[in-house]
Symmetry: D2
Subunit: 298 residues, 4 copies
């Protein structure tokens, strides 16, 4: 299958079940809502070393938030409910409770809940006040700029992590330019984030290493400088490969995001230096969600 001069591999991205939540951070203005979100969701590119994967889903206008102020919606993903709860409490405690003028709300509903204000309230040293409005409990915690308002809890969602595709291009500049367009297109899809720096990862890995202590190492088959010394996957004109990794709240969200990203790359096409699109998987045995590139682009 060739789209606008780009070879589409007959392969699929293999993704995993994860636990996730959406929260809403508001503030007196959008700048400070984003300051809080950047502090809370930074250093969250990969669950293995960061504990969670997180990011801003989108900006919210005043009429889209619970308290009528500008805000952002953020998504957090982790491998277990326990780890998600731990990361959520720690990151909201360090990045939002601390941040001038902010409040925090649940951004999704579910039977099972994750604590939000429920634990953070103890910072109030007994002066915190609880309030129930329309069946939802909120905490007002006294702080130096007034009160930190935090909803009691947020929803726990069964979600999908690790959707991905690989962009093979004639130069790094062209690979990166195409990925920037894809990240932008994916950002318009609700329910997803691209957790790596700027939405893109260049250190693709394979399972295992010659060093026994390491569970993973560089994906030599996709490294252009190793073409002569390893069993390479790369044809001679490929000078750079980049990967986009996606986490989504549902299988449908992930499908929409994969489609938006892949189509953005194909639009740029061979004229923009794109040679081939591929995806990463583990033979299909580890992850229960499979996204076949050719079906998505059909």
């Amino acid at each position: 299958m060739i789209h606008n001069g780009v070879l589409i591999d007959d392969t699929y991205a293999e993704a995993f079940g994860m636990k996730a939540t959406r929260i809403i951070i508001t503030a007196d203005n959008l700048t400070w809502a984003k300051n809080a979100a950047n502090a809370a969701f930074g250093f969250a590119t990969s669950v293995i070393a960061c504990g969670c994967e997180a990011g801003i889903e989108r900006e919210l206008a005043p009429d889209e938030t619970p308290d009528g102020r500008p805000g952002v919606a953020g998504l957090l993903f982790a491998m277990s409910t326990k780890e998600l709860a731990k990361q959520l409490e720690r990151r909201i405690g360090q990045g939002v409770l601390t941040c001038p003028s902010t409040a925090v709300f649940a951004g999704c509903d579910s039977e099972e809940k994750l604590p939000l204000g429920k634990n953070l309230r103890y910072f109030g040293d007994g002066w915190q006040i609880s309030k129930v409005i329309a069946g939802r409990r909120y905490w007002r915690i006294p702080v130096m700029d007034g009160e930190f308002l935090a909803e009691e809890s947020t929803g726990l969602l069964r979600s999908v992590g690790g959707g991905n595709f690989l962009v093979l291009a004639r130069s790094r500049c062209q690979a990166l330019s195409a990925c920037e367009a894809a990240v932008l297109a994916i950002a318009k899809v609700p329910g997803v984030i691209t957790p790596f720096p700027g939405g893109v990862v260049r250190s693709g890995s394979k399972i295992g290493s010659k060093y026994k202590a390491l569970p993973a190492s560089t994906n030599d088959a996709f490294c252009p400088t190793l073409r002569g010394v390893t069993e390479s996957e790369l044809s001679p004109e490929v000078e750079a490969v980049l990967e986009i990794v996606i986490d989504g709240l549902s299988d449908a969200d992930m499908h929409a995001a994969m489609k938006a990203g892949l189509e953005a790359i194909c639009e740029i096409g061979a004229a923009g230096g794109i040679v081939r699109l591929s995806a990463g998987n583990y033979g299909g045995k580890l992850g229960q969600f499979h996204y076949r590139l050719r079906e998505i682009l059909a």
Copy 2:
């Protein structure tokens, strides 16, 4: 002492010895250098829950970096050398190694060293190559967009953390506006960062809590909503208090940053709703560095 209508408390900020390092991240353009820095230095507001305090010190033009590309200088602070080394490796591994087109270099010198490329190199699975230029060792680690260049190690510095001052104002809006100016002024001082979200913290704390498990809790004496129910520090016209926390590579850097921040607030003065400037300390017994507001502003 009154400056431009602002009462300057006769008190001091109490700061602590910390371990720190400066690193330089470069990339094909400034956007991607910042993407890496934001991923690596996010979620780093306070050593207690984040492991380190970190942030961008400043942007670098191509002629200020080791490889002639745009970049940023970043600072990391931790309580021990061991924790600093751990956080450095993890954060560079997750935020810079992963980020398209980046390289990482030492940003300071010292006898004692922290590993940088020294440990990250193993990701190369044996294909990494070492190179010594002008007495410094670098690692070239094959990745999908070419090579990740990482200097072997970076310097370890004895530094100062927890410099601070408190801004008491007539409204939250005015407190925040003044703090934005102060953060901007501090950002021009070399060798310092303001690690909290947007550089400002509103959840000032006191040691201890009525809940035994908690080591700290809200600083009720500075909470405007608790004026009637606690022994308050706040006069009636104070509606909001914000704090700026500073980490610096040296005592001189900290002094310069405190001065820049305090002067920016005083410039705004009573006309901009500023009532009083104060600072946080623990009676002087815990931290070896004391910054007296009135001396700094004399």
Copy 3:
């Protein structure tokens, strides 16, 4: 009428018929589409001295643009078709034709047309090539980075300019903070722009002046520093007044934008220092469109 502690004046904004168009600027990435838009739509706050009022309506994902690249939609408003055509040609010629990687397309349809590529093509010095796709004509003009693609013409729309409201607050800080929220809310409404710097104007004017050559001068009735020396409109607690001016493609767009902006201010309310909302008009004889605040907020 009082909303959340804010007095809503029983008055209306008086707006005028204007000529307008929407164009779409695309580029290899969003940064460069915005660079072009900022160059083309800058210095366009008021028709009187700038010739037109212009701004970015919204950012566009690759799947929302004619050539599948990231882009922005921009709106231009002028008092006559002739002036609009002149400004359009000059601003696209200076800001988009010159800007690396960009293309320009019609963003609306109509019987009557404004020239776009039709005049700009002559820059090609005879090497320009015309192409008709699906009934629309495009010009390919050779430039140093490839070709500048410009659609032959864009639509001419009958639109509405000069919708407005006034925000009266206890401090400038609070007035500005509220207006930032309102501008953000209005930005989510399709078909409108807020042409003044950052979307807000502080130099409200009245018709006439003591200096004969000047057609307008400061609106002294709304100047806080003139309360003692002129017939003031301001009660004692009002320390600052700001105005938001809106241009919209239709009466319905303007109504939606006025509503979004007014509601954002009311949400902030008296707690955020907002005292009163008013609007500017000329007794209703000059402009054919009237937007009554109380009806919009009813």
Copy 4:
């Protein structure tokens, strides 16, 4: 001469004498100072159709501005003192007088002066107040958010416009990426701006056209798509050419900026797809300032 694989043409940029001024815009915070500057200095890429060339020179910390607030320094260039005065008044009147919380000051000194507050004061309708501090006159003009403070006049400088160089690259992506680095490097040099969108221009022109009414047209010798049909300057591997145009307050500033830009491109070098550096001139008879690439890079 070859630098890092890049051929340096044995040619020079030909630049012209222009009139210029520097002004300082301050505001309650940096965001609003930039909002004003973007409104005032937008649509100012080329003197021919915009009246002037203008841009932000750099951001200023509170301790670098006359009123101790955050600000920006901006530069304006025009062909005559009369046109410069006209553009200055109009652009400050539309972009700064209108913008919440701003003030405007002279940013340079000289015997000859350009009016700043001197003419804008009449907006005050007689309520403006003059004040002389340390020998400099300021105007306080009542507006709705308080007072607009404008210094009486600013300096008039003899300056240099139209410094330039051409970047020839293997792909548009690489040309653009290199130019972004050069613009960033030039931005660190005091006294200069790069007036085109994002600092870069792709529509290089030659004098004259086959259409008699047009004084200039596309520089066909540097258009890659015209290689087969015109007398081309481009070798086969060049796929894109971009130009950086620089205006500077002095010959020394221009020299420093040319050097910073050219060196940034050379650093990227052949490995980043750069083939050749050239410059535009008119045989040396029109402009009195000549910048020889090889001397600058020697």
